[in-house]
């Protein structure tokens, strides 16, 4: 029996090893990592206006972006041009989102979100540990000569990324998120002007319909960032390379209680964990996996009387591992 157990361990070892299998990529070259620094800096250096396309699951969506950097800081306006109107205006950390069809305004004062093409908001230290970054060939995108930068995941816990970077400015003009050679999500500029003076009037939104109507709803998203380990939850042994970057309490529209929110990152991909009580008067979310568009995966589980929703641009197995790593202190 002991012999049988030993053999089973021998058989099982490669399976266990595979799950955390680190591909033997060398260290990323300094040149490749320098590109990432250039990419991270670009949105804070240049004005730009352009039109970009998002494509995933046979769904395409076009948006227009105006981005201004000046003495007021960083300001931008993104308007989704396809389907229902959505306009997001960001003034440094403040965000206002207008949804005219439902007469809804969403605001947040401490909005840290970065929109495409500003895709590398976090320090680059962790990146090399989790991804092998290398320079690819050069290609033209929307009239700009671009250097392709490939981020190969070092294990199966995360997706690969391919970035087309404008050689002169470091602006990312195209991004492909890749799962085992298959592109699952893509952003690309179809038209872009970098560096010209952009009039601040382009950032303004037509408030006339809002002023005239009274039935607009405003949802103020409020977050309260907490010191590390303040929440009553512990993320024990998360998947390799993922580290907690923030914990907070936040509100969500339609929820009568504040929700605990913990975010983890591997330097590029991020995963959010939302923990909330299951209220008697609400319909319970079915536990299990859910898909969204593109690279997003969702895993819902319950722990005692709490519901834990884990969301991230990582493979389903990783979302599950992170969701399952939450324990009560």
């Amino acid at each position: 029996m002991i012999r049988a157990m030993q053999i089973m361990w021998l058989l099982l070892l490669p399976v266990v090893a595979l799950s955390s299998f680190a591909q033997n990529f060398p260290d990323s070259s300094k040149e490749a990592l320098n590109w990432l620094e250039k990419i991270a800096a670009a949105p804070r250096l240049y004005n730009y206006t352009g039109t970009f396309v998002y494509y995933a699951d046979a769904h395409m969506e076009t948006s227009h972006i105006v981005h201004i950097v000046d003495t007021h800081g960083e300001r931008e306006k993104i308007e989704v041009l396809d389907g229902l109107t959505r306009v997001v205006i960001r003034n440094n950390d403040e965000m206002i989102c207008y949804l005219p069809e439902s007469k809804t305004i969403i605001t947040e004062k401490r909005w840290l979100r970065k929109f495409f093409p500003d895709i590398l908001p976090l320090p680059l230290v962790e990146l090399n540990n989790n991804y092998y970054v290398k320079e690819g060939k050069q290609e033209r995108v929307t009239g700009y000569n671009c250097q392709i930068i490939v981020l190969n995941p070092r294990d199966k816990l995360r997706y690969g990324h391919k970035l087309w970077v404008d050689i002169d400015t470091g602006m990312v003009l195209k991004v492909a998120v890749i799962d085992a050679e298959q592109v699952i999500e893509q952003f690309a500029f179809s038209q872009l002007t970098i560096g010209d003076e952009v009039g601040a009037e382009l950032l303004e939104h037509d408030h006339a319909p809002i002023d005239k109507a009274t039935e607009w709803h405003t949802h103020n998203l409020i977050t309260s960032v907490l010191a590390n380990e303040t929440l009553g939850w512990q993320v024990k042994n998360p998947p390799s390379g993922f580290k907690k970057i923030i914990e907070m309490k936040r509100n969500l529209a339609g929820k009568s209680v504040l929700i605990d929110h913990i975010a983890l990152s591997d330097g590029l991909a991020t995963v959010s964990i939302f923990i909330e009580p299951m209220l008697n008067n609400t319909t319970p979310q079915l536990p299990g996996f859910y898909s969204s568009r593109g690279a997003i995966n969702i895993y819902v589980r319950t722990l005692a009387d709490k519901k834990i929703t884990t969301v991230g641009e990582v493979p389903p197995e990783t979302v599950k591992k992170i969701g399952d790593s939450v324990f009560k202190k």
Partner: protein
């Protein structure tokens, strides 16, 4: 299982596996676990034993049987495959034309059923798992605060509900 074992070890292990039925059972179980984890549609279920038992209890028909020409069998297989493809295609279209309703199922028995249904839908749906109900878009939107790249599409479903259904719990 994954080609990682050296040739010498493999030969030795396979020899032992052939001798010991317990090990064979374990081997099958691990393959089944692996297939399930990978969401494989071809589960390594060993049905040989159960079929043997069934066969043993089947009455033996002694009438002579004329073997069907291979061509006919191939044709039958092709027809069966086409039917499977058509049914799968139709089911996919059904799921596309009837996207998951935002209302949730409360019945506990339905939860159990759902758990069983999930692996089946993997083969016919363009998504690996059921599409997220509309309320999850709100989580995805605020998750995006830390997550670069994604556009604003997550907002649409949730906030496009009729305004009468929207309740702002923070409104005073």
């Amino acid at each position: 299982m994954d080609g990682e074992l050296s040739t010498e070890d493999t030969t030795d292990l396979i020899a032992q596996l052939k001798k010991q039925p317990d090990l064979q059972n374990d081997w099958n179980t691990y393959h089944l676990i692996g297939d399930t984890l990978r969401q494989s549609t071809n589960l390594s279920i060993d049905i040989s034993q159960s079929i043997s038992k069934k066969l043993a209890t089947e009455p033996v028909i002694l009438a002579p049987q004329v073997p069907k020409p291979l061509k006919h069998r191939m044709f039958a297989v092709a027809i069966a495959a086409s039917v499977v493809v058509m049914v799968a295609g139709w089911l996919s279209l059904q799921s596309l034309h009837h996207p998951q309703a935002p209302t949730m199922i409360v019945d506990r028995s339905a939860i159990e059923n759902m758990r069983q249904i999930i692996p089946v839908t993997n083969t016919i749906s363009p998504h690996r798992y059921p599409l997220a109900p509309a309320e999850i878009n709100d989580y995805i939107f605020v998750h995006g605060k830390f997550s670069p790249g994604t556009a604003t599409h997550e907002l649409t479903n949730y906030y496009m509900q009729p305004t009468t259904n929207l309740q702002d719990p923070y409104k005073r």
